[in-house]
């Protein structure tokens, strides 16, 4: 007791389970001395619930023998917001507004997988205009870059490489600027809607995208220069968090973790959606099955995404003025939008039309705004390759105006199960590296 009395943040208390120490800062000495007094080698460490860095609120329960982890378990649920349940009480279009908030680092993927499921149920998959498809791919690939940047940045910060964090967030800002320009929002866009996308490209966007590509081509090599051969970086990442192909299959891991085993499984190639078969890009793999391999895959995938973005920009240049919403006006609402003095709303032309010209149009507008469209009964599952792996929405309709059930198979949720396998038998410090290499986003894990 004497060792901890002077520190108000590291009080020790005796419980039925044994002596409990509370550690909140730089007070490890008191714990080390306290544990030494107990004469016990085995310590159970409750890490969290807070975020070990920026991955969200995660609780880790580690059993230690000295500095070796003998058992590791995750406690999740701290960010559960009931998004799936809430979606059952909104129209099909409003659902996008909810699901975009799940995995907050890859909002466009949440929207896209849900919307693809709804479109399959509506049987309008082949009526989606080309421009909408290209814009979806464009936004998803910029999003992949911004998500991978955060993965690398926070992963670097967790092992003390603060420069990786600062430059990572610097480049992510460029991606968010593009999102703001195209969708109006930096996060939580609700931009991909059943039938297409909410808005056409704003004027000047293509030039900004080309500037972005040029700048990223200069900036991305900085990460390679800083990390790829950095002895400290490699020593921390190599042979840490190893999971082989059999382990990935059994535990259902996808994304960079699966590809780090050398298996080129990427849904963009194997089961293309949104026209990915028309783009020229490569699936990046590594053969070390460890954290370093996953880092290198993320780095290389950003280059592939840049390639796709470049192709999207070229295609969009030829699609000036093309429609971005399905022709069926009943599904396409709200597509007559304009920016007014009080923000985005129905365009004045549209209001003039429904209020002054056509009673039928007014009735339709009213019905579609209050009730929404109906989706034929059935269920669909259209998974896509999110930055973290297979993200899919199981969308069930009962023929009504709201989703009967929407369940998201989030890759973070599934991949986080591998924590035990990756961390047990290693050192405490490697737990952090292993989890960072999974890149879980707790908003997606808990939904």
């Amino acid at each position: 007791m004497t060792t901890t009395q002077n520190d108000p943040y590291a009080q020790a208390s005796d419980t039925a389970e044994g002596r409990v120490f509370t550690v909140t800062g730089q007070d490890w000495d008191s714990v080390v001395t306290g544990v030494a007094e107990e004469g016990e080698e085995r310590v159970v460490v409750n890490m969290g619930p807070q975020h070990p860095s920026t991955h969200g609120v995660l609780r880790l329960i580690l059993e230690l023998e000295g500095e070796t982890v003998t058992e590791a378990r995750c406690g999740i649920g701290y960010l559960h917001t009931g998004i799936e349940k809430n979606m059952e009480f909104r129209s099909w279009t409003q659902g996008v507004t909810f699901c975009t908030r799940m995995d907050y680092l890859s909002p466009f993927y949440n929207e896209a997988t849900y919307v693809l499921g709804v479109e399959r149920l509506l049987d309008i998959e082949d009526q989606i205009p080309e421009k909408a498809q290209v814009m979806r791919v464009l936004l998803m690939e910029i999003n992949r870059i911004s998500s991978h940047l955060v993965a690398i940045a926070t992963g670097g910060m967790e092992i003390g490489a603060l420069t990786v964090m600062t430059i990572g967030f610097r480049e992510r800002e460029l991606c968010l600027d593009l999102f703001e320009l195209i969708t109006g929002l930096r996060m939580n866009h609700a931009f991909i809607r059943p039938g297409g996308v909410a808005q056409d490209m704003p004027p000047g966007a293509l030039d900004q995208i080309r500037d972005f590509i040029a700048l990223m081509k200069k900036r991305l090599p900085e990460y390679a220069d800083l990390c790829n051969a950095n002895p400290i970086f490699k020593a921390r990442l190599e042979n840490v968090g190893v999971l082989d192909l059999a382990g990935c299959m059994a535990l259902g891991l996808t994304g960079p973790v699966l590809r780090s085993t050398g298996y080129p499984w990427d849904l963009r190639k194997t089961q293309p959606y949104s026209g990915y078969q028309d783009y020229d890009f490569d699936v990046v793999t590594w053969d070390t099955s460890d954290s370093y391999g996953r880092f290198r895959i993320r780095l290389a995938e950003m280059w592939e995404s840049l390639k796709i973005i470049e192709q999207c920009a070229n295609r969009l240049a030829d699609l000036e003025g093309a429609p971005v919403m399905v022709a069926d006006k009943k599904i396409a609402w709200p597509s007559q939008l304009a920016i007014g003095s009080d923000g985005m709303g129905n365009s004045l032309d549209h209001i003039r039309h429904i209020m002054g010209e056509s009673m039928e149009a007014l009735i339709h507008h009213f019905k579609l705004v209050t009730e929404g469209f109906r989706v034929p009964a059935g269920q669909a599952y259209v998974p896509i390759e999110s930055p973290r792996g297979e993200l899919g929405a199981h969308v069930v309709s009962d023929g009504g105006t709201r989703p009967y059930r929407a369940h998201f198979r989030d890759p973070s949720f599934t991949n986080l199960q591998a924590t035990s396998v990756m961390a047990e038998g290693g050192l405490v410090a490697d737990v952090i590296v292993a989890i960072a290499s999974i890149d879980p986003v707790m908003g997606g894990v808990d939904r």
Binding site: Q271, E371, R374, P376, P383, G392, V396, R405, R409, T414
Partner: protein, 254 residues
């Protein structure tokens, strides 16, 4: 419907269109006699979610059967028949000839309704048979149909064969008063957390799961929040002088 021969899937009346429900005006009319009946899971009455209000609008008399796509007759089309043949043969060999209750092909996706007692056997065959090789499970999702007597709770599994690049869906039902489904964690360890989540939200008990506890909700939480009989909750919100009721008490369109 019991199969004629071991390993054969149940015969369904031909002349049926799996998309028949979609062609109905707003899904409100009963199906023509002779067509393959879509499965009625619920019948809703009235409109706007209003009951006992003395509604004179006429909407109170509306009747809408909620129908899900019915069974599909052979041929299923594409590789679906190959999978069905291989699975049928494997099931007959394994002594589970009646494991598949119904086959639904809808929107280009294949759904196999599996008898719940046979789920583990079917999953093992699907994973291990070289012609099937569904080595990857994308988890389980629960769906609650409170009015579908005796089949209230559904557990839906999405399987992926990376070897053959195919996806199928398994669906298992269980009644509300006996919410037990065999756990497939021994076949697909990835379903550990997914089954805990489905238990947490729907109360489906996965028999044989190594540690079936709540995962998202606190351990002492009462009820299973994503069941249809569990209220969404919420409070009225005041905005610019108007009061907006919580979403689950707003007008609904059956």
């Amino acid at each position: 419907m019991s199969p004629k021969e071991p390993g054969e899937f149940p015969e369904v009346t031909p002349g049926t269109d799996p998309d028949a429900t979609d062609n109905l005006p707003e899904n409100t009319l009963p199906v023509e006699p002779g067509a393959l009946a879509p499965e009625v899971v619920e019948v809703r009455r009235g409109m706007f979610g209003v009951e006992g209000s003395g509604d004179t609008s006429g909407y109170g008399g509306l009747v809408r059967p909620v129908t899900m796509p019915g069974g599909t007759p052979r041929p299923y089309g594409g590789w679906f028949d190959e999978v069905a043949d291989s699975l049928g043969a494997a099931l007959a060999e394994a002594g589970l000839p009646n494991a598949v209750e119904k086959v639904v092909v809808h929107r280009g996706e294949l759904t196999l309704f599996i008898r719940r007692a046979d789920l583990l056997g079917v999953a093992t065959l699907l994973r291990d048979d070289p012609a099937l090789r569904f080595e990857f499970c994308s988890g389980v999702s629960g769906v609650h149909y409170p009015e579908d007597q005796g089949r209230e709770l559904h557990a839906v599994y999405h399987l992926l064969s990376m070897t053959h690049n195919r996806r199928i869906r398994l669906e298992v039902t269980c009644p509300d008063r006996d919410p037990h489904v065999p756990s497939v964690v021994s076949v697909y360890p990835t379903n550990d957390w997914h089954e805990r989540e489905t238990y947490d939200f729907f109360g489906i008990i996965f028999d044989g799961h190594p540690a079936l506890t709540r995962i998202e909700m606190p351990d002492d939480w009462p009820g299973h929040p994503q069941r249809k009989d569990y209220p969404l909750g919420g409070i009225p919100v005041e905005y610019k002088g108007a009061t907006i009721p919580p979403p689950d008490t707003r007008r609904a369109y059956n």
